[in-house]
Amino acid sequence: MRESLIDIAYLVSAVLFIFGLKLLSSPKTAVRGNLISAFGMLLAVVATLFVKDIVHFRNIAIGLIIGAVAGGAWAYLVKMTQMPQTVAIFNGFGGIASALVAISTLYGAFKIPEGVPLEWNRAAVGLSIIVGSVTFFGSFIAFAKLQEIIKGDPISLPLHKLWNLVLLISALVLTGFLVSSGNVNFAWIIFGVSAVLGVMLVIPIGGADMPVAISLLNAYSGLAAAISGFVLNNYGLIITGSLVGSSGFILTKIMADAMNRKFVDILIGNVTIQMTEEAFAGVQIKGRVKKTDPQEVAILLDSANTIAFVPGYGMAVSQAQFAVKELFNLLTKDGKEVYFAIHPVAGRMPGHMNVLLAEADIPYDKIKTLEESNSLISETDIAFVIGANDVVNPLARDSKDTPISGMPIIEVDRAKTVIVLKRSMRAGFSGVPNPLFYLDNSYMLFGDAKQSIQEVAKEFKEYRKL
């Protein structure tokens, strides 16, 4: 009786999670959706505390208090620009919790439910450890790269993919040993091998390819939870974990499409493709770079009617979102049409730019997707590129030989005038040189994005007063 009630509580939680996620489809209902989902979690936790095997509440209280304080403090103190690494590390924590729970079953933490073969249970334990450990150590590397604890550049070993394959096969073979012997030492070895695999999977991924990696790790953390559902024969966990898994896989697919990569390639770790020297030699760029200054930009803005802002990771790095908002206010007050063109992979995680713009209070009806932006761009007088590079590189569209070829771009080169805010002439993350900077209708405004925009806003204000 008690067991059935607990199972029903888990089912209600799962339903609440589904509704919560559904309400995330609109900014108006999303806050409520998240609360509903949190309530589902509370219900699941409370129901679990009634499980009759639980006798020691002290450990639980200690664990929950530490987790609540650490998680709560983190959530409130983190800057919006640090959101990618925050999501990455939280993902990892979910993953390692699943792995630890799986290992604890081998120490007798759970009774194997009736009707579940011992071998199946041990196989699920092995898989749970693999996915959980890969998720944690992979997420940790992503976190360290984004937080700049380690260098963000891709690092590859000779025969990197072969090593990954060897590690994966070893982990699976070890799971086989675990199934036949039940020896807990195998669990720890699987944990270690998978840890190395997690590091190896993420270490060759850098900078602009992070959105894909984080989406994939998100999917893995869900998968880890679902597999631990199989370990514990807990249907609530299976449902919930697979929901998160599908969410992560959808985002991974969207990111892969936005970079013109095959989903399958991403899954086997072919995330970062760098510019080769041969391809580099094949790129012919005509034209010359024209520098501009804030005063000149202010005059150009004055005569423009439609203005697009195209932000990239550079906006996050220089925390320019509030300066952008100030300029946005000046321009809209002046009766100009202003919109934001957001590429799906701009920044370091899906939706990264949107969060920063929301933080600066930019109305979300001014935010346009890739397709919407490209249909508006030829009627746009000035396109402001703020620290974006590869996502506006015309070579992606015009050439077949670069790593970014075929990737959909925001076609700012079709705007009447392009102003590129950039620190230097360095190529984008992919290493592909950008002919956009050399076009007749494009001007470079060198310097820190935030400072440049503040100066443009100041000049614009002064110019209008005259």
Partner: protein, 92 residues
């Protein structure tokens, strides 16, 4: 009587499909909150961690379980709170 393993697999597949249906409707605008919100949900492993920490069967199991409770609850509390913080900015 269907065995529990088969039931589990059926549930797994159905939940994956419903997940796909629900989540494809989330616009790019909200992709970050979707990610951190679903991430908080993946902290559901907390449920398993609680049992492992509290069952008191063996010292090692208890320690592993308690560690798992710490990790999973950082994931749950941090994930929901940070998602809430972000979503409130979008509502304005």
């Amino acid at each position: 009587m269907v065995d529990p393993v088969t039931v589990g697999i059926i549930i797994f597949v159905l939940a994956l499909i419903s997940g796909f249906e629900v989540i494809t409707k989330v616009p790019p605008l909200l992709h970050t909150p979707l990610m951190s919100g679903s991430n908080a949900i993946s902290g559901i492993t907390l449920v398993g961690s609680l049992v492992a920490a509290g069952a008191g069967e063996q010292r090692v199991a208890e320690i592993l379980g308690t560690l798992a409770v710490v990790f999973a609850s950082v994931n749950v509390f941090g994930g929901y709170l940070v998602t809430d913080r972000m979503l409130r900015m979008f509502r304005k």
